[in-house]
Every structure is written in structure tokens, then in C-alpha cells.
């Protein structure tokens, strides 16, 4: 691989990762205001900006570096607590995030050079952003580390002040004999800072007659105000360290700083003790002591052969706290950090990026394997070999498991699609001047990647529609006794082998009367027609249908709902509407979990075999003998229009009698497909027919049967459409030209 190619690949990785980071950044920004403890989010946002800046620098994308640098410094201010979190700041940061996305996308498109127009745009965004850093008043500055500090002050003593050290000294009994005078240490401490408070602990002093004047019984609790680091202070006691107990604890904001430091540590320091050492919360000596202690205990426990005792050996953290080497909040922060590092490592180990194409190829191959396996299975039945049958049966089972596993690989949580709408709802509600909250549930519901990719647009239509037409303005809502803020719910869940996505609002609901009036006006129905609620609501999916009184730039032009419907149908799904006037509307989309596999019902017509999607099939009945070649039949008192598949698909059917009818349903309409044979259910991999068959009606694709033959999959919606049109042609007695060239 040449250097250029390598760079190209690296650049691809950079853009891919940057876009992911930007997506995370956007999500964090959107949730920033609602987060009670935003520190973690701010850090994540900062890290994202920082990483993008750094990587852009590597590729010499100076314009991205320049822009991101300013954003990063603002974020740094935010992180340092010097400016507060606010909706204005978020509103200013979001477009910056978009701008970086735009810049990165330009790189994806191969435009690595600076674009003057974009730079000017960026400049404007930065000016807006800079207003925050300059205007940030000093008293607003404490938002960030207030929380930990408050907790600490409760935990420690109220009297302590920032930047102080607390020293617990217990001099060893032999200190005097070793020539060490505690007083000289205390005096020496003065050179490092001011001793604010000094308490002499003399509880260890025995009664006067037992006291050995050469033995030191003294202890001190010293509050030291010093800018010196812990190691430096500990250095003071270097000579008595062996024999004495010396604990040095930071106080007040000192701990805040430690927590901050621990958060900022490079993540490869996963060892708790190392974290504390690196943060300066404990020194190497203390760590070694603690480790030694732990080991000792462990050893004693092992020597005694007592597993329970071994388990009871206190964890390193506990030991450290017990020996007062670190105070609990600092330790907790370190433990948290350790956990994060671990989790991150786990996540990295758990997911790998795979080229979608390779995955598709694998699934294709497994599809072939299933078909080949079915063929072998079929063949094996021709032989009276029980062992062979058993083995092929077992192989089939394994193959099917492999197939299910492979399909599972394509499953992704729908949450990524949902999170996109946070931004949409935020922007649109602002544009509309309505307060709307988005509630997302079931974001971890998994669905095939291809479904996720294709459902975004229809969902977007529904969400915008709900916000524009569904949810009323605040004053109307208040007048109806509803909360001023509207809420929009996106919900996903699995239900009987399909995924259901609901978009519901608590707005005004659909106005049945108005829809009816409009439908009559447009000639879709007759004024005297009696329709069920379901049928009325289905009218909104008619092309060009809109009851909105005002057309906004979001929706209301009557384009959209029919497109939504078409898109959902194209995914082999359906959509239904639930609505209560004044209480809101729910749009419910049912989609198959995967587009690659279909549960089909096999039917035979003449020599041909067709697959009808099982979710369309309602029941199968025998065609009454007296039905002849009629176009309808009586299904328990209902008129069931019949479609003779042999005619529609131009297949020679030799069978004269005993036809079967498969009752199928689409969009509330039922029809009966007349076939020769019913061959049962069949789960199969869908094979697209290819470009040549673009214009074909009534066939959705093909599949390969166990015997290697290709069977066509009936596309119920287009076949319905086709029959309706053919019928209309017949009515108008217009023989349609059929030019088979």
C-alpha cells in the first residue's frame, strides 16, 4: 500500500470517527441542560472537540483546527466552571457542532481545502460563542465543582479552608532515641506554609510514674496552609517515616482538585493505586505500604488455608481509607474512574466495526447454505438410511441456528434513529414557538439495519406532523386544561416477530368531521357513506390530503402522509392511526424485523410455486365447488373478491376442480387468491429480482426453494393495485394495449 493510500484510509477513519464523535457531542449537548450533574457530559463534549481538533491537525486540516480550537476553549471554560450551562450557550454550541460536521463532511467528499464561504459562516458562529466567554461574570463561575466540595465539607470539618492540608502525625516511640525531635519537624513545616491550627494529641501519654522520658508519646493534628504538594510535605518526615504514622490529607477544594485530576487522568491508568499516586492523592510510599499490608493479610490467610479469610481480605481501597491515606470521596472518584476505564475496555472488546458489505455477503452465503442444506435434507429422505436422515436433520438445525445468528449481526438498536429526533424536536418546537418535550422509550429495541436506515424519513414526517398539526399552541392547551408544554412520545417495542414504532402526541387529535368533509369535497367518499373510525383515519394517507388550515413550511401541503404510507409499505410494514379528539394521536408502524428473511406461505398454481407473505395471510378456505370461474365468493356472509393467480400470473393451471382460496388482507381490504395447492409455511431468504424487473407488478422478489427452484414472492399491495386498475380498465371497456415486443 502506498503512502497516499494509507493516508486516504487514515483520513477515512478520521472522518468516520469524527462524525461519530460529533453525533455523541450533539446528543450530550441536547441533554446538557436537563442533566443535574453535567460534569461528565461536559467532559465528553470537550473530549470530542479535543480529539477532532487533534486529529484534524494530523491531517493538516488547519481550518477545522482553527474553528474547533475556539469551540474547545469555550468548552474548557465551561468545564472549568468559569461559565455556566445555559440554554443560550447550548443554542450557540449546537450550530458550531453542525458546522464542524459540515467541515468534516466536506473532507469526506474530498474537499480538504478551506472554503471561504464556510469560514465566514464559521466566523459568525465563533463570534456568537465568544460573547459567552467574555461576558461570563465572576460570580456565575461556581457551578462545576460545587457539588463535590459541598459533600466534602459536610464530610470533613466545616472550619477548613481551601488549599489546606491536614496532617495526622503520630511519632514513633523511638523518635527521641533516634535523635528526632517532633518540634523541629513542626518548625520545618512552617517553611512550607502557615500552620493554621495545631492540636497536640497526648492521649498516648501514660501516667507519670510509668512514663519513659526517652519515649515519644506525642501526636499532632496539623492544619497546614501550603501550596506545596503532598510529596514535598511528606519529604519533611522522611526520617521518621519508618517508625511513625504519617497521614497527609488534602482539604476542601484540594479534594475537588483531586477528583478533577482523577477524572482527567489518561485512561490507561487502570490500577486504583496508580490512579491515586498519579493524582497526587497518595504517594508511592503509602501505596506500597497498603499493598504490603494487603499481601501480608493474604499470605496469612493462605497459610491458614482459610478461603473465607482470604475473601475477607480488605480491598486495597478499604485499606487505604482505613489507614487514612485517602479520604473517601477521593477514593470513590478513583474507583469510579477505574470502573469507567474497565467499562470502556469492555465495550471496545465487545464491538468491532465490520464492513456492511462483508456482512451482507456472509448472510447471502448462509442463505445459500440453508437452501443447499434443504436440498440435501430432501435427498436424504430418498434413502432408507436412518443415520443419514438424523445427521442431515442435525446439520439443518445447525445451519438454521447459524442463519439466525448471522441475521442477529445485522440487528442494531433503533435508539440511534430516535436520538436524531431530540434535535429535530428542539429545533422545530423553537421554530413553531411551542414548548414540546420528546419522550423516547424502547430505544434499545433491535431491528435490522436496513429497516433502521429506511424508517428515518417516514418517522421524520410523522414527528413534524405531530408537532405542527397535532400539538396545539400553549394558550390553546391551557384553555383545554392541559399542561402548557406538549409532549411527543417515540416508542419502540417488539410484538409477535415484528417491531412496532409508535409516534404519539398529546395534542388535539384528528378531527373526524373535518376529514370526512374534506374527503367528500375531494370526491374520495360519498356524503352518505358510513365509515368506521379506522376507515376515516385511513383517509389521511390519501395523496394530497390535508385538513390543515394553514400551510407552514413544515407541513400542511398534503404531501407526506401518502409518502409515509408508501415507504412503510415498501418495507413490508403497515401503519395505523389511533386518535381521540382533544387527547392526541398515535401513529403505530408495524415493521418486519428484517428485510432479508420472510415468513412465507407456499402455494402452487399449475407447475409454478408462489410465496405469499405470511403476515398478509388471514386464512385458507376451499373454493366452493359451485363457484366456477366467478370473481367473488361468499365468505361467511362477506363478499370476498377473488383473484385467480393462474390468470393474473398467466400460468397454465390444469386443475379443473378443488381450488383453494388464500384470504389475504391489505389496508383493511380482503381478497381471496385462488390457487391449486396449499403447500404450507416456509421461512426463506429473499432474493431481489434485479433491475430488469423494476416495473413488474405483483411480485416483490424471489426466493429459492429446497429443491433449488426459484419461487416468486407475491407482493400483495401492488397486486391489489394492479387488480383494481385492471378492473377499472374492464369497466371502461378500454382494452389496454399489450405490446409484448
Amino acid at each position: 500500500m502506498s503512502f497516499d493510500e494509507e493516508m486516504k484510509n487514515a483520513l477515512k477513519t478520521f472522518t468516520l470517527e469524527s462524525l461519530e464523535l460529533l453525533q455523541d457531542m450533539e446528543e450530550h449537548l441536547l441533554n446538557l441542560e436537563d442533566d443535574e450533574a453535567p460534569a461528565e457530559r461536559i467532559n465528553a463534549i470537550f473530549r470530542a472537540a479535543h480529539t477532532i481538533k487533534g486529529s484534524s491537525g494530523v491531517f493538516g486540516l488547519t481550518h477545522i483546527v482553527a474553528f474547533t480550537h475556539v469551540v474547545e476553549s469555550v468548552l474548557d471554560e465551561l468545564r472549568g466552571g468559569r461559565i455556566g450551562v445555559g440554554s443560550e450557550l447550548v443554542a450557540a454550541l449546537l450550530p458550531c457542532c453542525d458546522h464542524i460536521t459540515l467541515l468534516v463532511r466536506n473532507v469526506v467528499d474530498g474537499r480538504t481545502e478551506e472554503d471561504a464561504a464556510l469560514t465566514a459562516e464559521g466566523k459568525q458562529l465563533l463570534d456568537e460563542l465568544n460573547a459567552f466567554t467574555q461576558a461570563a461574570p465572576a460570580d456565575k463561575a461556581v457551578t462545576e465543582f460545587k457539588c463535590p466540595r459541598e459533600q466534602l465539607q459536610k464530610l470533613e470539618n466545616d472550619s477548613v479552608k481551601d488549599g489546606n492540608w491536614h496532617l495526622s502525625l503520630r511519632f514513633g516511640a523511638d523518635s527521641f532515641r533516634d535523635g528526632m525531635d517532633p518540634l523541629s519537624f513542626v518548625s520545618y513545616l512552617r517553611t512550607l506554609g502557615d500552620i493554621v491550627q495545631l492540636v497536640t494529641i497526648c492521649q498516648a501519654l501514660p501516667p507519670a510514674d510509668e512514663m519513659d522520658p526517652e519515649t515519644c508519646y506525642l501526636g499532632f493534628e496539623i492544619e497546614l496552609k501550603s501550596s506545596a504538594g503532598k510529596a514535598e510535605i511528606e519529604g519533611v518526615f522522611e526520617f521518621v517515616r519508618e517508625s511513625s504514622i504519617i497521614r497527609i490529607l488534602p482539604y476542601g477544594s484540594g479534594i475537588g482538585e483531586f477528583i478533577e485530576l482523577i477524572d482527567e487522568l489518561p485512561e490507561n491508568l487502570s490500577y486504583l493505586g496508580e490512579i491515586l499516586v498519579a493524582a497526587g492523592a497518595i504517594t508511592r510510599h503509602e501505596l506500597d505500604d497498603a499493598l504490603h499490608h494487603q499481601q501480608n493479610k493474604m499470605q496469612t490467610a493462605r497459610e491458614q488455608g482459610n478461603a473465607e479469610a482470604e475473601a475477607a481480605v480488605p480491598a486495597l481501597g478499604e485499606i487505604l481509607v482505613k489507614y487514612q491515606a485517602v479520604s473517601e470521596p477521593v477514593l470513590n472518584a478513583a474507583l469510579e474512574k477505574q470502573k469507567q476505564v474497565k467499562e470502556k475496555k469492555n465495550q471496545e472488546a465487545q464491538s468491532i466495526r465490520v464492513d456492511a458489505e462483508r456482512l451482507d455477503k456472509l448472510i447471502d452465503l448462509i442463505g445459500e447454505l440453508v437452501i443447499a442444506g434443504a436440498g440435501v435434507n430432501l435427498r436424504s429422505r430418498l434413502f432408507a438410511d436412518e443415520g443419514l436422515k438424523e445427521m442431515t436433520g442435525e446439520t439443518m438445525r445447525l445451519i438454521e441456528e447459524v442463519r439466525d445468528g448471522a441475521l442477529q449481526l445485522r440487528m442494531v438498536p433503533i435508539g440511534t434513529t430516535f436520538s436524531r429526533f431530540q434535535r429535530v424536536v428542539r429545533d422545530v418546537s423553537k421554530e413553531l414557538g411551542k414548548g414540546i418535550d420528546l419522550i423516547v422509550t424502547g430505544g434499545d429495541t433491535e431491528v435490522d439495519k436496513s429497516v433502521v436506515e429506511k424508517i428515518g424519513d417516514p418517522l421524520m414526517h410523522l414527528v413534524r406532523n405531530a408537532m405542527d398539526h397535532g400539538i396545539e399552541t400553549a394558550d390553546v392547551r391551557l384553555a383545554c386544561g392541559k399542561p402548557a408544554r406538549g409532549s411527543l412520545t417515540l416508542k419502540a417495542y417488539h410484538s409477535s416477530g415484528s417491531i412496532v414504532i409508535e409516534v404519539s402526541d398529546d395534542g388535539g387529535g384528528l378531527n373526524r368531521e373535518r376529514i370526512l368533509a374534506k374527503a367528500v369535497e375531494r370526491g374520495l367518499i360519498q356524503a352518505h357513506d358510513v365509515l368506521s373510525d379506522h376507515e376515516v383515519y385511513a383517509l389521511i394517507f390519501e395523496p394530497g390530503f390535508s385538513t390543515a388550515q394553514t400551510v407552514s413550511n413544515l407541513s400542511g401541503r398534503g404531501v407526506g402522509m401518502d409518502v409515509v404510507k408508501r415507504n412503510v409499505t415498501a418495507l413490508r410494514g403497515n401503519i395505523e392511526v389511533d386518535s381521540r379528539l382533544g387527547a392526541g394521536t398515535t401513529m403505530r408502524i408495524h415493521l418486519p424485523l428484517t428485510l432479508a428473511i420472510i415468513d412465507g406461505f407456499l402455494v402452487g398454481v399449475g407447475k409454478a410455486t408462489f410465496v405469499i407473505p405470511l403476515d398478509r395471510v388471514i386464512e385458507c378456505v376451499a373454493l366452493p365447488e359451485d363457484a366456477g370461474e366467478r370473481e367473488y365468493m361468499d365468505l361467511r356472509g362477506e363478499v370476498l373478491p377473488l383473484v385467480w393467480l393462474s390468470q393474473v400470473f398467466d400460468v397454465e393451471s390444469h386443475q379443473q376442480r378443488r381450488h383453494n382460496v388464500v384470504v389475504v388482507e391489505h389496508a383493511g381490504n380482503k381478497a381471496g387468491f385462488v390457487v391449486d395447492r396449499l403447500q404450507g409455511e416456509f421461512q426463506t431468504v429473499i432474493k431481489p429480482l434485479g433491475k430488469l424487473f423494476t416495473y413488474i407488478k405483483g411480485v416483490a422478489g424471489s426466493t429459492i426453494l429446497g429443491d433449488g427452484k426459484v419461487a416468486l414472492i407475491v407482493d400483495v399491495p401492488t397486486l391489489f393495485e394492479f387488480c383494481e386498475r385492471a378492473n377499472r380498465h374492464a369497466e371502461h371497456a378500454l382494452p389496454a394495449p399489450s405490446h409484448a415486443s
Binding site: E368, A608, V648, D650, L692, T694, I696, A740
Partner: protein, 181 residues
């Protein structure tokens, strides 16, 4: 990768009106005439069988077959040339050809032939430019005429004859009502 007889880089040759280059050609019989196709795009030759008819398609689309797991459309060239349908006999075979459409995705297409003859070397000098009429098929389908053993062999212009775009458009025009009505 399936073990297909990929001959070259798999790139379709697209000479439109200029006469064909010399090289290896597969000759086959179709409706009594001998035709030849450049060997570079030919993937394999299989026996005719297990074809599934696809309804509502023009006559030149015979149907689809299962070629080791992929569904491949099969074209009746005789119908494409407007000379009726190829009747199925013992020696009938399907030549699998790789084509490319404008969308740049390669698609395999099968061609029904009465019989496959042989692979021959045809030198550039043996190739005559296509006649503007008289060959019985559209002139743009022909990339040249080669003389073999005193007889003319029609060298087919693969890109035109098997143009997926054109055939799709044709089927779009002819679909509408089922052919059976």
C-alpha cells in the same frame, strides 16, 4: 467468492459501432444462425432447466434461474431479435454473461441458445464491419461479421444486445395488463 470462471477483470467490452477486436469468441447456434460472443464476459455455460417464468414480462425475458444461490434472469435472444421464441430441445443451454448497466453494478444474465459450438480465435483481419441492413437483426446489435469455414458468423455487440437499461425500459412499456387477458 464462488468458483466462477471469471475470465478477465470482468470488465465488459463496449465497442458500440466500431468493428470488433480480434480475440476469442464463443460461437453458438440460435434459430439456425451462428452467432458469437466475446469470451471475456462469459462466465459459464449450463444446461437448460428449472427455469421459473416471471409473469407480466415481455417475451424476451424467459424467466429466472437459480445459479448457485443467486437469481439470474434468462433472456431469449431470438425473441429479443423479434424472431419468435426459442424452442427447448435436448441441446438447449444457457450462457451466463456478465453485463454492466449505467448504475455500474454488474449483473449476470443468462442467454438461451439452441446449442453451443466452440471457442474460436478470430483475428482482427477476419472481421468485417457490420452491414447496415440485411443481417436480419438490428445493426447496432452487431459488432462485426466474421468468416469461418466459408460461412458468416455474427459477432454480437454484448453491451447493446444485453443492455439491462434498454430491456428494463422495454418491459416498463409493455407491462400494464397481464399478457393473459
Amino acid at each position: 467468492m464462488t468458483a466462477m470462471a471469471k475470465t478477465h477483470e470482468g470488465l465488459p467490452v463496449t465497442p458500440s459501432s466500431v468493428s470488433a477486436d480480434g480475440g476469442q469468441y464463443l460461437t453458438f447456434v440460435l434459430g439456425g444462425e451462428v452467432y458469437a460472443l466475446g469470451i471475456l464476459n462469459i462466465k459459464e455455460i449450463i444446461a437448460y432447466g428449472d427455469l421459473t417464468e416471471v409473469p407480466m414480462m415481455p417475451a424476451f425475458v424467459r424467466g429466472v434461474i437459480n445459479l448457485r444461490g443467486s437469481v439470474v434472469p434468462v433472456i431469449d435472444l431470438l425473441a429479443r431479435f423479434g424472431k419468435g421464441c426459442t424452442s427447448i430441445a435436448k441441446r438447449t443451454g444457457i450462457v451466463i454473461v456478465e453485463t454492466s448497466s449505467e448504475a455500474d453494478d454488474n449483473q449476470d444474465i443468462g442467454i438461451v441458445v439452441d446449442a453451443v459450438n466452440e471457442v474460436v480465435d478470430i483475428g482482427r483481419r477476419e472481421i468485417e464491419p457490420p452491414p447496415s441492413f440485411g443481417a436480419g437483426i438490428r445493426p447496432d446489435f452487431i459488432s462485426g461479421m466474421a468468416k469461418r469455414n466459408g460461412k458468416f458468423v455474427i459477432l454480437l455487440n454484448n453491451a447493446r444486445v444485453l443492455s439491462v437499461d434498454e430491456m428494463t425500459a422495454l418491459s416498463g412499456m409493455s407491462h400494464g395488463v397481464p399478457a393473459g387477458e
